[in-house]
Amino acid sequence: QKASKHVDKYALYVPKSGVFPKGFKVATQATGVKKNGNLDLGIIRNVNTSRPSSAAAVFTTNKFKAAPVLVSKEVLEVTGGENVDAIVVNSGCANAVTGEVGLKDAREIAGVANQKLGKQNATLVMSTGVIGQRLSMDKIVPALSQQFETNAFKDDFESWLNLARAISTTDTFPKLISSSFKLTNGTEYTLTGIAKGAGMICPNMA
């Protein structure tokens, strides 16, 4: 992106450190879905067991919702947002406009993560990339399983930044922010946010 190179956006907007919420770990891998060999699979996992987790989401209002959108909506409807402990994101292929096979693939990815977590309906899935192509399940599923089996999950800064990289497509820099705040009773808590997107951007989510 020649125009973007006029300004060093990476230097301006990518943090060099961060504070991250307790009880979350992340893992990433380059599965080969992205042709350039970059990271293209990211997983965030809740490892806190002191209380059940809560989940919420907003989704595109596009009539042609991609398979992972439909599957994640189902998960939230079934669970009421309780006990959702993982989000699996792949980049390079959007699994959109893929019909029944796309739904089956998205459910299979969620199912693999659920099996590893030992829970039903505990995983949200997201995909981004090219529309109208089927996911390379032969690459994604083994990689996903491997992350759990080798306990590749970490909670250091570089791992979180890699998660932001893994979900990127045409982005010129990973988007990661984190901050600590205090409740009125003085209790400190943390927010961490990751996003991706550079084009096809005019969301209206509900």
């Binding site: 992106q1 979350f24 907003v58 989704f59 595109t60 997201m126 927010l191 084009g199 951007i201 005019c202």
Partner: protein, 227 residues
């Protein structure tokens, strides 16, 4: 496609979390545009795992509004990073529509300006083309025209670098300023961060929308995305 997630170690009930995220999204991710296209995959999710030892937050909790505000500001930061990375973009543009009759109208007008290809190319070319901004306001898909009064509308560029004069008025009470200071306009439009201020003068509601310029590179990047 926009994807994102926000995670926290607070304990928050699912319904309170959904309310927070919905409110935050309406004031952040739903107020950005790079190219006017809505993806089939846009998703923002939020997880709260309760690892922090404190009382569970629900809609009636004392801390609910404070946390909701912090989540909203957080979401705005993330959303703005997406716009700053707009494909091929060189400028980050805040479109601020104020004094509308209602929030919905302010948002529709801000979005109309933010999605105008001609406004975005003019900003890339550093052309103070107020006519295109006014045009985009005029065709905004409002339910009715009660927020628009052609004798009350003001349009300005606002400096983002604290230089003076801070505001360069392009249209005052519906009258185009034909002798605008082109030198000052060039100074403002040369900046990486721009602000377009539209004062409708018909109410008290406002909306901020964030967009970017449209460059040759956008076409280069998207001409062969599948390959």
């Amino acid at each position: 496609t926009l994807l994102g997630f926000i995670v926290t170690d607070l304990p928050i009930t699912p319904s309170a979390l959904q309310k927070m995220l919905r409110s935050a999204t309406d004031r952040s991710f739903n107020c950005i545009s790079v190219d006017g296209d809505m993806s089939t995959n846009d998703t923002i999710s939020m997880l709260a795992n309760g690892a922090v030892d404190t009382a569970v937050i629900d809609e009636s909790s004392q801390d609910f509004v404070q946390v909701q505000t912090q989540v909203t500001e957080f979401a705005q930061q993330l959303a703005q990073l997406v716009v700053r990375d707009g494909e091929g973009s060189t400028k980050f543009v805040t479109v601020n529509v104020k004094n509308a009759l209602n929030f919905k109208d302010a948002k529709i007008i801000a979005e109309s300006i933010s999605n105008s290809m001609l406004v975005k190319t003019a900003l890339y070319g550093q052309d103070a083309n107020w006519g295109r901004i006014l045009c985009a306001i005029g065709y905004a898909k409002l339910d009715n025209l009660q927020s628009l009064d052609d004798k009350k509308i003001n349009v300005s560029f606002v400096a983002t670098d604290n230089s003076e004069p801070k505001e360069l008025k392009l249209i005052v009470d519906g009258v185009p300023q034909l002798d605008i200071d082109e030198t000052r306009a060039s100074e403002l439009l040369a900046q990486q961060d721009l602000e377009v201020l539209v004062d409708l003068g018909t109410g008290s509601e406002e909306c901020q929308f964030w967009t970017c310029d449209l460059t040759h590179e956008y076409v280069t990047i998207n001409g062969d995305y599948r390959s």
